[in-house]
């Protein structure tokens, strides 16, 4: 009896400590960022973009249980939306927020476009078709020279500005990305707990049973693809605005694979896991930059050992945002 009591009281306290620690580290990092050199801020920006991509892809992989290897196609759609609508390429110079909206809609549209034909497929076949879809988009971008500039890509993109405030320095993008990640992260986290999110979980656990209890699996899957693609497109548009250059090289199969890996290594279906996975796979190669190609070899070996050592990911599903909030506010 006594032992059980201690366990019951000790656990929340430990949780609370961990939660405060996580929050304190996060705040300290964010506060310190403006004082970092530009190069470091750029690295953090790319980390945030990958976190955004991870959150998007996780809806399809982690929540709905469908393996998508062509996610980078949506990232490309967003990036090229900005590339075409805010550059001398077509002579259009639309404002950033409007492009973000267009990119989100285009992303949702391509997501549904991919979703409709693959609805009937499951497992490995779905993975292969999405892989093919991603490659098709990349090859088309690579060859549609008159529109996309082909392999050279589109350069001299406009500087982004929101309501008259120019966003050009890396630190500006840091704030923009941080706010986007927080908003998207919260929306997705709430979405997972909504009726739709429960339908996704049902599909992940047993599709036939889900259909049996009256869930419209077709709509739920399409919604998953559309939401995920929208987030991917938004990440792409911000990426293009921060690089002020787009080319097909950024949208290879390897990129898709890297995002899948981030999710799996970090902890599938868990937003904190994505942050941890992104930190390992994006920051580590950056820290080891002076070792040139050795770092990629190291990354490959690390990947294998991580998957073998922790198949459930570094941050398991049980430590989700709820636990953090419960730890902070004692609910």
């Amino acid at each position: 009896m006594a032992a059980a009591d201690t366990l019951a009281t000790a656990r929340p306290r430990a949780n609370r400590t961990i939660s405060w620690l996580v929050l304190a580290i996060a705040i300290a990092l964010i506060v310190a960022t403006p004082f970092l050199p530009n190069y470091h801020v750029r690295v953090l920006n790319s980390l945030l973009i990958y976190i955004l991509l991870g959150i998007g892809l996780n809806i399809v992989i982690g929540y709905t249980g469908l393996l998508d290897l062509g996610f980078v196609a949506f990232y490309a759609v967003g990036a090229y939306s900005y590339g075409l609508l805010a550059s001398p390429q077509l002579g259009l110079h639309m404002p950033f927020l409007l492009i973000l909206l267009v990119a989100a809609c285009l992303g949702a549209f391509t997501g549904i476009l991919l979703g409709i034909p693959v609805l009937r497929l499951r497992g490995d076949y779905l993975a292969i078709v999405t892989l093919g879809f991603g490659e098709i988009i990349r090859i088309i971008i690579n060859n549609l020279d008159w529109l996309t500039g082909g392999p050279q890509g589109i350069a001299r993109l406009d500087k982004a500005s929101i309501l008259g405030i120019q966003i050009a320095r890396p630190i500006d993008f840091f704030w923009l990305l941080l706010i986007t990640v927080l908003i998207v992260g919260t929306v997705v986290w709430r979405l997972e707990r909504s009726i739709l999110g429960k339908a996704w979980a049902a599909i992940r656990e047993d599709q036939d049973a889900a259909r049996g209890i009256g869930i419209n699996t077709t709509n739920a899957k399409l919604a998953a693809f559309a939401t995920s693609a929208t987030i991917g497109s938004i990440a792409g548009a911000i990426f293009a605005a921060s690089q002020r250059f787009v080319s097909p090289e950024s949208f290879t199969l390897q990129e898709s694979v890297l995002i899948v890996l981030m999710i799996v290594v970090g902890g599938i279906g868990n937003i904190f896991g994505i942050v941890a996975g992104a930190a390992i796979l994006i920051l580590l190669p950056e820290l080891l930059r002076e070792f040139a190609e050795w770092r990629i070899l190291f990354l490959g070996l690390l990947m294998i050992s991580l998957i073998i050592a922790r198949p459930a990911g570094i941050v398991p599903r049980s430590f989700g945002p709820e636990k953090l909030i419960r730890g902070l506010f004692g609910k």
Partner: protein
């Protein structure tokens, strides 16, 4: 016109037989382990590099030359890559056998990345000229030109594929491998050495892939650390097209893909009046892949897999 037709057919057969050799590795691993081995393309690349190394050692240090050295280098290389394949399975896939189906697939991506960078560090990232395994001899057949190399590649590929056919369908090892592929738990209950069968698959698959790599590099006269990725993807497409898990399917898919590619490259600009050029060859391949999967998800010769067996129930 007829000459051109024959020429294109021979080209397609040559490429197709190389694709087939690699596609067999994908399909065998999938048939037995239900796993897509993304590192298989790297076996293709390793084959070329190990053969190159073996050849330069044989010619330089041992002093053997000519056809003997080439044959020896070929055999040594495919055998070594086969052993590497077995080693990789032990280290990177075996510990994951009881975990989700996604885990070994991602582990194979890690293996692929490590192998490509490993070779890049050892041999440099730039493409290297590869010695021709066949003397330059051309034959004129009804207006088309066929090189001795193409004939050699076709013969080598068909000998290997026939060897695989005999191994799988006529030998004791083949029975064991097929039993494990049918049902691993049942095979285990019957006292079959499951680990041995899986090792066998990871010996034969990379061996065939390596042979494909040597023939390919010899055909185009060049090799590079990253060549496994593109050709691997093509061969993988071929395996899916034919029906993954099916050995005749992999061969059929490879030849269909090769013919689509060769003919598509020739016909696409004519049919679309120059709007779509030869650069859309890969789009054509993937578009056909997607179409086939939508109409017949199991591929052309694949068995219709019951949906329960591929549901991602316990994956995550």
């Amino acid at each position: 016109m007829l000459g051109n037709l024959i020429q294109q057919t021979v080209n397609a057969l040559t490429i197709g037989s190389i694709y087939a050799l690699i596609a067999l590795g994908y399909t065998m691993v999938y048939g037995v382990l239900r796993m897509i081995n993304f590192a298989h393309g790297e076996m293709f690349m390793l084959g070329a590099y190990v053969a190159f190394l073996a050849l330069s050692l044989l010619v330089g240090d041992v002093g053997v030359s000519g056809a003997l050295a080439l044959t020896a280098a070929f055999l040594v290389a495919i055998f070594l890559v086969g052993l590497i394949g077995v080693g990789i399975e032990r280290v990177a896939y075996k510990p994951l056998r009881s975990s989700t189906r996604l885990a070994p697939m991602l582990s194979s991506l890690g293996v692929s990345l490590s192998l490509v960078t490993g070779v890049q560090i050892l041999a440099g990232p730039q493409p290297v000229a590869f010695p021709s395994f066949f003397p330059v001899v051309r034959y004129q057949v009804m207006g088309g030109t066929i090189t001795l190399m193409q004939i050699g590649i076709l013969i080598a590929a068909f000998v290997l594929m026939f060897g695989l056919h005999v191994l799988v369908n006529r030998s004791r090892i083949g029975i064991i491998v097929r039993a494990v592929s049918e049902s691993r738990p049942t095979a285990q209950l019957l006292g079959i050495n499951v680990n041995g069968a899986i090792s066998m698959v990871f010996f034969v698959g990379p061996l065939l892939g390596a042979a494909g790599g040597i023939l390919y590099s010899s055909y185009y006269g060049i090799m590079s650390p990253s060549m496994g990725a593109v050709i691997g993807l093509k061969a993988f497409t071929a395996a899916i097209l034919g029906g993954i898990g099916s050995i005749p399917g992999a061969m059929l898919g490879a030849f269909i893909l090769a013919f689509i590619e060769v003919w598509g490259t020739a016909l696409l600009p004519i049919v679309t009046n120059g709007v779509l050029g030869t650069e859309y060859r890969d789009v054509l391949a993937f578009a056909i892949l997607i179409l086939v999967l939508l109409v017949r998800p199991a591929g052309i010769l694949g068995e219709a897999v019951s949906e329960e067996s591929i549901v991602y129930k316990r994956e995550f």
